[in-house]
């Protein structure tokens, strides 16, 4: 691996966002391919963050600072990716369902998906089914990611999926769900395509769903 790309990788793992910014700029100035910086520096680092999280070596604070460092680097890299016509892994609309104001779980999933190369449209919390449908229809979206922390609000995941069906957009996208009271069984019951128990495994799920659908 290019030494500079290697440094981007290790500084993302350490959450050093200023260093990551500087190193990404240095890598671009050295004419390193933006896609290499993205894939081998940033996406690989965030995948490692996911592994460390699943292994119980990283926890939420480590994940947050790594994601912030990745985002800082990505902001510098993005115009170059556009210029080089580098496509994202997929487009995700994410939000916490209507009535529910919890956001940390949703934010972590958004960060980890972004770190895996997905383009994220975050609708925030307390998002109505209509808003989700509108967002999904307004762009070429691959995945709709729904979050809920409360037993009082989790039924709004079903309401959102139903609204999507009625609007005629259900078959074109994959719906993934997550949140403390949810289970795999509940996800199937409401017609979602998958459930993940944490942000790291949400990335694995998203990628496998897209791969299975040939995207």
């Amino acid at each position: 691996m290019e030494p500079l790309v290697n440094e981007i990788f290790s500084n993302i793992l350490d959450g050093q966002h200023k260093v990551v910014e500087a190193k990404v700029q240095e890598a671009l100035d050295s004419s390193i391919d933006p896609k290499v910086i993205l894939d081998e520096g940033m996406i690989a680092a965030m995948a490692e963050v996911g592994h460390l999280f699943e292994a119980g070596e990283y926890f939420v604070p480590e994940m947050l600072i790594a994601a912030r460092a990745m985002k800082a680097g990505l902001a510098i890299l993005k115009p170059h990716l556009v210029q080089a016509n580098v496509k994202s892994t997929g487009k995700v609309v994410i939000g916490t369902v209507q009535g529910d104001l919890h956001d940390i779980g949703k934010n972590l999933v958004g960060m980890m998906l972004e770190g895996a190369g997905f383009e994220i449209l975050d609708l925030g919390t307390d998002v109505s089914p209509e808003k989700f449908v509108e967002a999904v229809k307004s762009a070429e979206v691959d995945i709709l990611a729904l979050s809920a922390l409360l037993t009082t609000t989790m039924h709004n995941m079903k309401a959102t999926i139903e609204a999507l069906k009625q609007a005629g957009g259900r078959d074109q996208i994959k719906v993934i769900v997550g949140g403390a009271p949810l289970t795999d069984q509940y996800a199937r019951q409401i017609g979602a395509d998958g459930f993940a128990p944490d942000a790291s495994r949400a990335v694995v799920l998203a990628k496998s769903l897209l791969a299975a659908s040939g995207r």
Partner: protein, 353 residues
């Protein structure tokens, strides 16, 4: 035996003849309770042994205006300054964090943290405590959101979790200020005659700790220990109750070490109360154990009764159980399940009599 004696016999694991019990209703279920019974107060109606009490804030009411320049629709809590805005459903609110954009220590230093002595009505408090004790009820001083939670309510969760790694000087200053306030309040709650000090900070997800145990040990454990010591220095027999949602098995031994005596809520979705009782029941009592993601909202009334009986028999063996749903009962909990809970505790407690 008086109600107080029965409560202490259970919580000090001297006797399992009586199982204390409790639940909290959301506003919608409270309205349902009033409709069904014509009564206002379900704590009285169902004869819970405990009463939660906290000192009333008596300081200035508008100390935080400058931290909410655009405060339309926000309720600002008057002592700490956390903002709340009502969401689209039930009683849930969105939190606003006045310290979210602080960059420098001077901003924390300038923040109007409450004064534990002069901003609260301690004069009236002792009388309120005495009035509860005089009715043969157990007085629980409510001081949850003790350190970590109030720290992030003020700072924002993501920002504060990152502070722990990136800005430890800011985190330490903020936590020290909060801890000093909590220690003073703990002493005053103890001096006023409260029986139980109810502490709590959620530091876990349902899978694991939110942070490394090493991070908890560095920033939170010693400060929680200080608060407990402050209470015990005034009232050595004050019972220490600690609330921590999720799976906090990684720190249970250390909670015991620093003086926690009753652990709540033991969410059965992520920690098996029977296993936890076997592991730690010699040193700890448990308050909770009834799932509010499973049994209470989605079980049948028969299942609620069965789970209650199982918890009473297995976790309550030898004492050490206060049976309670793990969280506030939300609108989707069927009334029949609340009735089944009451039937189960009444059957056991009356049988025991």
């Amino acid at each position: 035996m008086s109600i107080r004696e029965k409560y202490f016999a259970a919580m000090r694991r001297r006797d399992d003849a009586y199982v204390p019990f409790e639940f909290n209703l959301c506003p919608a279920l409270h309205a349902e309770f009033m409709r069904r019974t014509g009564q206002e107060n379900y704590w009285e109606y169902y004869a819970f042994a405990t009463r939660n009490i906290e000192v009333s804030y008596a300081g200035d009411l508008d100390r935080f205006a400058e931290y909410f320049p655009d405060k339309v629709g926000f309720q600002i809590d008057p002592d700490w300054g956390v903002g709340h805005k009502k969401g689209s459903l039930a009683h849930f609110t969105e939190m606003q964090h006045p310290m979210e954009n602080f960059q420098a220590l001077v901003e924390f230093e300038a923040y109007p943290y409450p004064d534990a002595a002069s901003d609260y009505d301690w004069d009236a408090f002792a009388g309120r405590v005495e009035a509860i004790r005089a009715r043969d009820l157990v007085v629980v001083a409510a001081m949850q959101m003790t350190i970590f939670e109030i720290a992030w309510y003020l700072r924002g969760m993501e920002t504060f979790l990152m502070d722990l790694l990136l800005n430890p000087d800011l985190a330490n200053y903020h936590l020290d200020r909060i801890t000093a306030i909590r220690c003073e309040m703990a002493k005053r709650y103890a001096a006023a005659g409260c029986d139980v000090l109810s502490l709590g900070d959620d530091v876990s997800t349902q899978l694991a700790m939110m942070m490394k145990v090493a991070t908890w040990r560095e920033f939170l454990k010693p400060r929680l220990a200080k608060v407990i010591q402050a209470a015990k220095s005034v009232r050595p027999d004050m019972l220490i109750f600690y609330h921590g949602d999720g799976n906090l098995q990684a720190i249970i031994p250390e909670l015991i070490e620093i003086g926690v005596e009753i652990l709540n809520p033991i969410q059965p979705e992520c920690m098996d109360p029977v296993v936890i009782k076997k592991q730690y029941g010699e040193w700890l009592s448990f308050w909770g154990t009834l799932g509010t993601q499973t049994t209470m909202p989605f079980g049948t009334a028969v299942e609620v009764g069965q789970v209650c009986q199982k918890m009473i028999q297995e976790v309550g063996r030898g004492g050490g159980l206060g049976l309670a749903p793990t969280h506030v009962l939300e609108p989707e909990v069927p009334w029949a399940n609340i009735q089944a809970f009451m039937d189960a505790v009444n059957e056991y407690n009356h049988q025991a009599v």
